[in-house]
């Protein structure tokens, strides 16, 4: 059962040393934020769920880890450049059982994210797979980078 265990190497990992440095920098940012909560601007907004945002020339991609949240419990709304993810994570509690650990948290959540550029609201698509929400938000034509040919 454990054969494909700890020893064989992954296809996934840090691609370069720069990523490792980048990781360290984010760690430090988080440490400083704990020291000075007013310096929140850089790292996390401190609101569930934490999100990662990336961009391609065509779109923004927003991801969040939402294990155990059903698609029906999730709502995604847009308003201008803002996108809001809200919903509820239900954690069933068996009252007749004896609990040894209770670390998983349930409850309601709502998170708004402002995107840096204009978006095409009609073409937003979202998937929820293995507990990860991925929202693809195409950029508005005006916000896409355009290459200009020199004559």
């Amino acid at each position: 059962m454990f054969t494909r265990g700890l020893l064989n190497f992954p296809t996934y990992g840090l691609r370069t040393h720069f990523e490792e440095l980048d990781r360290m920098r984010r760690h430090l940012d988080q440490v400083f934020q704990q020291v000075d909560p007013s310096a929140i601007a850089g790292g996390t907004a401190g609101v569930f769920p934490l999100v990662n945002l990336t961009e391609t020339p065509e779109a923004y991609v927003l991801r969040a880890e939402l294990p155990g949240v059903a698609g029906e419990e999730l709502e995604i709304q847009t308003m201008g450049r803002n996108i809001t993810i809200s919903g509820e994570r239900r954690i069933a509690v068996d009252r007749s059982a004896k609990y040894h650990r209770r670390e998983r948290e349930g409850g309601r959540f709502s998170r708004a994210i402002a995107l840096p550029g204009e978006i095409d609201r009609d073409k937003i698509s979202a998937t929820l797979k293995n507990g990860i929400l991925q929202v693809t938000i195409p950029k508005a034509e005006a916000a896409k980078p355009r290459k200009i040919d020199i004559k």
């Binding site: 059962m1 454990f2 494909r4 265990g5 700890l6 992954p10 296809t11 996934y12 990992g13 840090l14 990781r23 984010r26 988080q30 790292g43 996390t44 907004a45 401190g46 609101v47 569930f48 769920p49 934490l50 999100v51 990662n52 945002l53 990336t54 961009e55 391609t56 020339p57 991609v61 991801r63 880890e65 939402l66 294990p67 155990g68 949240v69 994570r89 239900r90 954690i91 069933a92 509690v93 068996d94 009252r95 059982a97 004896k98 609990y99 040894h100 650990r101 670390e103 998983r104 948290e105 349930g106 409850g107 309601r108 959540f109 994210i113 840096p116 293995n130 507990g131 990860i132 991925q134």
Partner: protein, 136 residues
């Protein structure tokens, strides 16, 4: 009887990284999945949050008294994506528990859905409490 946490707002929690002594031969971060463990008369149940892990990428191992759960993830990002905001990190999951009860290894049931692993560990006959009738 089951009930749900209603109305409460979820607090943001940072993913906890495995640190120090547990040596991993691979590079990249390894996280400790948050768990619920509860015990009923006949079984021990374990729920672990492992977002991003597919069912064929989970390893569950029970030997002696040690239960090990490990999960692999596959990168979601496509090559051309550039980071704008990074609030959480992605990595593998690893956690070990000591299970003092005798478990019926054959009947362990594991199920992964929506990034949550559910393990049912049935207690072996010997470990189940037995009511002893007192005859008068």
């Amino acid at each position: 009887m089951t009930h749900h946490d209603e109305g409460k707002e979820i607090q943001v929690g940072k993913k906890q990284e495995v640190s120090g002594a547990t040596e991993h031969t691979r590079s990249g971060p390894v996280f400790i999945p948050p768990v619920d463990i509860f015990e009923t008369e006949n079984e021990i149940n374990l729920l672990a949050d492992m977002p991003g892990v597919k069912s064929d990428n989970v390893d569950i191992d029970l030997r002696e008294n040690t239960l090990t759960i490990a999960g692999e993830i596959e990168p979601l990002e496509q090559g051309e994506e550039e980071d704008l905001l990074v609030e959480y990190e992605v990595g593998r999951y690893f956690r070990q528990f000591t299970i003092p009860e005798l478990i019926d290894q054959e009947k362990i049931d594991a199920h992964l859905s929506e990034g949550v692993l559910k393990l049912v560990l049935p207690k072996a006959e010997k470990a189940k409490p037995r009511k002893i009738e007192i005859r008068s």
